[in-house]
């Protein structure tokens, strides 16, 4: 504990002068607000009643029910296919960008950052229908491949940030040492840069994977007849008839996302 974090206390009360009254309460309530809805989604997935919010009894049957459904299996396969390909391609692109950005001149770097950051700023609906219009115009058929192409574009920034953070932490002396010892650019990349970047690359891949897996809007517009992904399927279920089956599917998707983000977090955690 540094000197900075040792609070002065009001005499007699033990209350820290850094605390403001009610802030603690508000914070607890906000944390509750952030998690209670997710907890409820999971809780109601075990409801044996067809009406989601009227509790009848405990059952696992919605999970077996949902997993046995052919359409859902197909949607799951589509989602995984899209997410895996989008992850691999966006990580390769992002690694190149991370390295290239360091060596670019100012104007080039500004332009590149604009492109990378754009999917985060542009409203997703505009990105979705723009990509739809583009694909219709240049006759790329809608479906799983179209979704994958679009996902790569907005997975890049998420893959890039952990990789770049890692790259910036590399002491350039290691490159010089390798070069002095006779390694050429390619050998340095493969034997020095890549292994050093690996934790960042894995973290970036995990984030890209979640972003792709969870995407709804872009997938919805590019799905066409055969490209239904899991979120698109869930949206259809919500639209038609809400049963605890929606909750069971959602709970599984939530579990995957949270698990992956935890792994990614552990990988990039900075030791101060």
């Amino acid at each position: 504990m540094s000197a900075r974090t040792k609070p002065v206390r009001v005499k007699g009360t033990g209350e820290s002068l850094r605390d403001f009254p009610t802030f603690k309460l508000v914070s607890y309530l906000v944390l509750l607000f952030l998690y209670l809805p997710l907890v409820l989604v999971v809780a109601y997935s075990f409801n044996s009643n067809r009406v989601v919010t009227v509790w009848k009894g405990f059952t696992f049957s919605w999970y077996t029910n949902v997993l046995a459904n052919d359409d859902i299996q197909r949607a799951l396969m589509n989602s995984l296919r899209v997410a895996i390909v989008a992850t691999v391609v966006s990580v390769i692109i992002a690694t190149g960008l991370a390295i290239g950005l360091l060596r670019m001149h100012r104007a080039g770097r500004t332009f590149a950052w604009g492109l990378i950051g754009a999917p985060l700023i542009i409203p997703e609906i505009v990105f979705a229908i723009g990509t739809l219009a583009l694909f219709v115009q240049i006759r790329i058929p809608l479906g799983v491949n179209a979704i994958t192409l679009a996902h790569i574009a907005f997975c890049v920034p998420f893959a890039l940030l952990p990789i770049r953070a890692r790259l910036r932490g590399v002491d350039s002396a290691v490159y010089e040492a390798a070069a002095d010892l006779g390694a050429n650019e390619w050998v340095i990349f493969r034997r020095i840069t890549l292994p050093l970047l690996m934790p960042g690359i894995v973290a970036g891949a995990l984030l890209a994977f979640i972003i792709s897996l969870d995407d709804f809007i872009v997938s919805y517009f590019l799905a066409g007849p055969g490209g239904t992904t899991l979120p698109v399927y869930i949206f259809g279920m919500i639209r038609n008839a809400i049963t605890p089956g929606v909750n069971a599917l959602s709970s599984m998707l939530l579990a995957v996302s949270i698990l992956i983000v935890m792994i990614s977090y552990l990988l990039t955690r900075k030791k101060r």
Binding site: P7, F23, L132
Partner: protein, 315 residues
């Protein structure tokens, strides 16, 4: 050492082995095609004519799509002023504004509280606030259908306590939409404010108490000015995505509280008027850029010290 042949190169370039700018070229080319491409095509489509049947556009120049934003066609064939879409744009602004204010009101106490915790707890809290961001937006929005519906837990609790006899209609109202938006974007507000607050030296607050300031004065005159960069960044990160929201109004507003994105989506779905949808998209883009510029100016004013509270700090 027998490495004569390679050394000259590394002597010339101080950064030997760090790769070259062309490593970024595939990425830039890809993003030009799939980020810039869609925007360019949307701008082009907005100046074309509607296709007679269904999907796509007719390649005839036209500004009808933009006229449609403000004028409706009357039965006589002429055009009269029609505020329908202006109202939807106004609504979108209004909902985004309420969302930003609500997020702000909740986030300032949370961020300051978080920043005054011990280091380990802070790390954990940041992680806890971040997790919802990484879960599916669709599912987070759906969760409010469960919570707010007539048979949902809120109505059930109020009924059990005999506060109400008939369920309160909360779902499919503007309230539901805004609540969904606040829920979705709250982490975007908490994290940048926290990033600013974490850098604040709370010994300054203690010094202010020593000099006789009360808690309110310390909060408003000492702490708040220091977290202002975070407030500006957070408001931007909430307001902009809120403005383009699709899922919350779609699922929670029940069609009664359309925002711009829902109208755009409808043009590419059931209504099948692609140029009009494209024109609305261009409008949404222009508004987004204008808001960005305004915030960039505000941010420069709010801080010269911390340029750190941008979207990167979220990750």
């Amino acid at each position: 050492m027998t490495t004569q042949e390679k050394t000259p190169k590394s002597v010339e370039s101080r950064t030997a082995g760090q790769g070259s700018w062309w490593a970024g070229i595939p990425g830039i080319a890809y993003l030009i095609a799939l980020v810039l491409g869609p925007i360019v095509i949307i701008v082009i489509y907005s100046f074309l004519s509607r296709a007679k049947f269904g999907v796509g556009v007719k390649w005839v120049f036209s500004v009808t799509a933009y006229q449609d934003l403000f004028f409706g066609e009357s039965l006589a064939g002429g055009r009269t002023f029609d505020p329908t879409y202006l109202e939807i744009i106004g609504n979108s602004f209004w909902y985004s504004l309420i969302t930003s204010v609500a997020c702000l009101a909740l986030s300032i106490p949370v961020a300051i509280w978080m920043a005054t915790r011990p280091e380990r707890v802070r790390t954990l809290l940041v992680f806890l606030v971040t997790i919802p961001f990484w879960t599916s937006l669709l599912i987070r929005t759906y969760s409010f259908i469960i919570i707010l519906n007539d048979n949902g837990p809120i109505n059930w609790a109020l009924k059990s306590l005999h506060i109400i006899t008939e369920p309160i209609t909360m779902l499919y109202t503007p309230f539901a939409t805004v609540l969904g938006l606040v829920y979705t974007f709250l982490p975007f507000m908490i994290l940048p404010i926290y990033a600013s607050a974490e850098r604040f030296d709370f010994r300054l607050a203690e010094a202010a108490y020593d000099l006789g300031a009360n808690r309110w004065t310390v909060l408003t005159r000492i702490v708040m000015p220091s977290v202002r960069p975070g407030i500006v960044a957070g408001t931007l990160l909430v307001f902009i995505p809120a403005l383009g929201s699709f899922l919350a109004p779609e699922l929670l507003g029940g069609g009664k509280t359309s925002m711009i994105a829902n109208v755009i989506a409808a043009q590419f779905g059931a209504s099948r008027n692609w140029p009009f949808g494209a024109a609305l998209s261009v409008l949404l883009l222009v508004i987004t850029l204008l808001v960005l510029v305004v915030f960039a100016v505000l941010a420069r004013r709010a801080s010269k010290a911390s340029g750190n509270a941008n979207w990167e700090s979220l990750l």
